[in-house]
Amino acid sequence: MLLLHPELMVTSKLAVVCRSLTRRFGPIAAIDNVDLDVHSGETLGLLGRNGAGKTTLIKMLTTLLPPSSGQAHIAGFDLVHRPSRVRRAIGYVPQALSADGDLTGFENLLIFARLYDLPSREQRPRIAAALAFMDLSEDADRLVKNYSGGMIRRLEIAQSTLHRPEVLFLDEPTVGLDPLARDAVWEQLKRLRTEFRTTIVLATHQLEEAEILCDRVAILNHGRISVVGTPAELKAALGAGATLEDVFAHYTGAEMGVHDGAAAAYRQRRTAERLG
């Protein structure tokens, strides 16, 4: 049996539990004493400006980055002591469009079917089902370098859900996609939740995305969680007529208009990507 902290014992319905989770880079705490619960089956948005710690938190929860202190359980397994059990239970879509362009869509899925120990009999049917689910069946044998950004993202979601993970982590899943591609990705994420009851944790700085997809949002600011709640609760708390933009501005202390802020962050990020 897993030994959980007494407080964590009543967690059968919690997919992710973080307690005092902290990650320091030198003197700076990129994630500072974060407590966070994600309920099984819900979609939680991690909202925050650039550098707020969204990616650091996701990297920790996906076992890529060891925490400096604190603890976390994913799907009931301790993040630090049982990383390989955690890895079996999660799927991960990183921020960059990360499918392998020199392989076909099918091959990109095949490698993950093998890495996630799917029985060889089940591999092909599962891959075919995933391709159909993501509306990529006709493009399965094309090289991924000829895919559009939206197709690559959908392929990546297929890759990360082949093994039917309990929790799916996505880091800014629709950054850089055109509105149509973005809507298609949103549709697939909603279907994952309704059809497979997958718990989804997604980092975003697009408020529209948070509003459309998330049951609850957690606003991160300088590595700390400022507030957690449903979009409706958070808006109501600020008074009648408040928008999620107002909530975001209130909790992240954004001085400029949030729209400008998000646009500036986006430009900054594109520049950063270009400069490598």
Binding site: P94, Q95, S98, A99, S160
Partner: protein, 279 residues
């Protein structure tokens, strides 16, 4: 938990074997990716055949004529061919690690690391990719050798041994290169270091001249160089008759043992370094 005694021997064996089997499957899965890419675009292999051809044609022919390098009763070109074979294994494998920097930038490494794949399987899979390239390259060099009339021992045992040594040697140099990539983390620095390393490794080995010709200090360096054991093994297998035995120095068993030990040590190091590339 079921206790160890309560399990049947078969169940116990399968519990021990299952992770090993999974390890091998995943290693092959990573290697398979490299194989598919290579099959789709073999131009790299074609362009890489030029350098060994030049070494054999220009350097080899001139040195054969001048007889400046004392290789005993072995014709110089015969002596050189295993050296050039080992050199092309080194050159093709030593830049293998750069792919991990690409894949880190693309986010592919992140996904591999977030999957339940043992780190060592990721490393050995990559090494296998290097080995597949090196095997294709070795075939080209051997064909070149025939074309130039080099006397080679063409028996199945020798060729099997050559394949084994090429796979092992490429795995050693690929894994070494992977460790460097994990340490330097950028393409530019990696290319710089790769260039700096290959030439000393090549010249401080027995690839193009016998160790006996070297000054004492360089002999010591050559004995620490894995390429020396690769060349030595290939020479033992490929040279014909007593001349081959004379030209080889350490013996095939020592060569394979040394390379295998180095490989295991490098895999352990690389498996520790690999996750750090995304941190």
């Amino acid at each position: 938990m079921t206790s160890g005694q309560a399990m049947s021997p078969a169940a116990r064996a399968s519990r021990l074997l299952a992770p090993l089997l999974a390890f091998c499957c995943k290693t092959l899965a990573i290697g398979d990716v490299e194989f598919r890419k290579l099959r789709r675009d073999p131009t790299e292999l074609m362009t890489r055949a030029i350098q060994p051809a030049l070494w054999l044609l220009l350097f080899g022919e001139v040195m054969s004529r001048s007889r400046a390098l004392a290789t005993g009763s072995v014709p110089y070109l015969d002596f050189l061919l295993p050296g050039i074979l080992a050199q092309s294994v080194l050159f093709i494998a030593i830049f293998n690690g750069i792919s991990i920097i690409w894949e880190r930038d693309l986010g592919i490494v992140h996904k591999f690391l977030a999957s339940p794949t043992p780190r060592a399987a990721l490393v050995v899979g990559k090494a296998l990719g290097g080995s597949i390239r090196a095997l294709a390259q070795a075939l080209v060099v051997l064909l070149l050798g025939f074309a130039l009339g080099v006397h080679l021992r063409i028996v199945p045992v020798a060729l099997g041994g050559v394949a084994l040594l090429v796979v092992l040697g490429a795995a050693v140099f690929s894994t070494f290169s992977l460790i460097i990539a994990c340490l330097v983390k950028t393409r530019e620095r990696f290319m710089g270091i790769g260039q700096v390393l290959t030439m000393p490794m090549f010249f401080a080995s027995n690839a193009i001249y016998p160790i006996a010709m070297m000054p004492r200090w360089l002999q010591a360096v050559a004995r620490l160089n894995p390429l020396t054991y690769e060349v030595d093994g290939l020479r033992t297998l490929l040279l014909v008759g007593p001349a081959g035995i004379e030209a080889a120095k350490f013996g095939l068993r020592t060569d394979i043992a040394v390379l295998s030990l180095i490989f295991v040590a490098l895999v352990i190091l690389a498996a520790r370094q690999y996750p750090k590339i995304v941190q």
